[in-house]
Symmetry: C2
DNA sequence: TCTTGAGCTTCCAGTGACTGGAAGCCCTAT
DNA sequence: ATAGGGCTTCCAGTCACTGGAAGCTCAAGA
């Protein structure tokens, strides 16, 4: 398979696939003409990466997970640990965003949003005491 | 004021303040020795930036908001528009993270996390049909 | 006075995970 | 023979910093 077909079937753009090769996540062979020659296993790996990335795992986590996937002697506890750590990080991000959301939505509600210059959003950012 | 004091009082690290100068967000004067010489208004601006960044506004949004803050002819609707757009973006991010969280927490729960290699997390990433 | 150390300066490089673009080779069809 | 689309590599840019190196300045102590 050439890169175009793999991109289509895995849902990962060619640029990204080349990048993944650069950083050693996939190692496609080469045809005589210099084109990358992907096997089914490469496609499978890329689809794996696509799903892991969609769950927000970092590239390093993905490298780790791929390694575990290919290691028949893995312990599921290792996988679970990676996933749990990531889950915690996601929870923290959500909490942080919700805090922002709270503050911001209060500010938005308190702003008239008309033609006058007076604006509680700016006042808050400027640090004016209520 | 030198950069160290401004950093302390604004809560923004010196490196970041220099960066903000680089990209034109603040324009401190210079002392004879080449040191940056910040006035109270500069400090005020930096505190403004710190609060805006803490609410997740992008640097470009911050530049915009600072401009509006200093424009006596602004309309509060302009400020509100920036804030609302950002609020929408935050909501989208939260929704995306919550979707990830859902999937991931299901997977984590379904994984035994013991010494055996069998792992539903990896099976899911590998695309195995349930 | 000399030295020491903290604080300041600039410039360069790296982060994460791509993404865009340029220059140029390869393959197929007309 | 040529046109086009797909492939190649390499370089640069994104966002918002952050670390580090080399070197200047300043205030305090021996």
């Amino acid at each position: 398979m050439n890169i175009g077909e793999v991109a289509e079937r895995s849902g990962i753009p060619p640029k990204t696939i080349r990048y993944y090769e650069d950083i050693g996540l996939v190692r496609p062979q080469r045809s005589g003409n210099g084109y990358r020659a992907f096997r089914e296993t490469d496609l499978h790996k890329l689809a794996f990466l696509g799903r892991a990335r969609a769950l927000g795992f970092s590239i390093e986590d993905c490298r780790n997970l791929l390694g575990l996937y290919e290691d028949e002697n893995r312990e599921s506890a290792q996988v679970k640990a990676v996933a749990e750590e990531h889950l915690t990080a996601i929870d923290e991000k959500i909490a942080q965003l919700q805090t922002m959301r709270e503050t911001l939505s209060h500010l938005v509600k308190s702003c008239h949003g008309d033609a006058r210059p007076n604006c509680p959003i700016l006042s808050d950012l400027a640090g004016d005491k209520s």
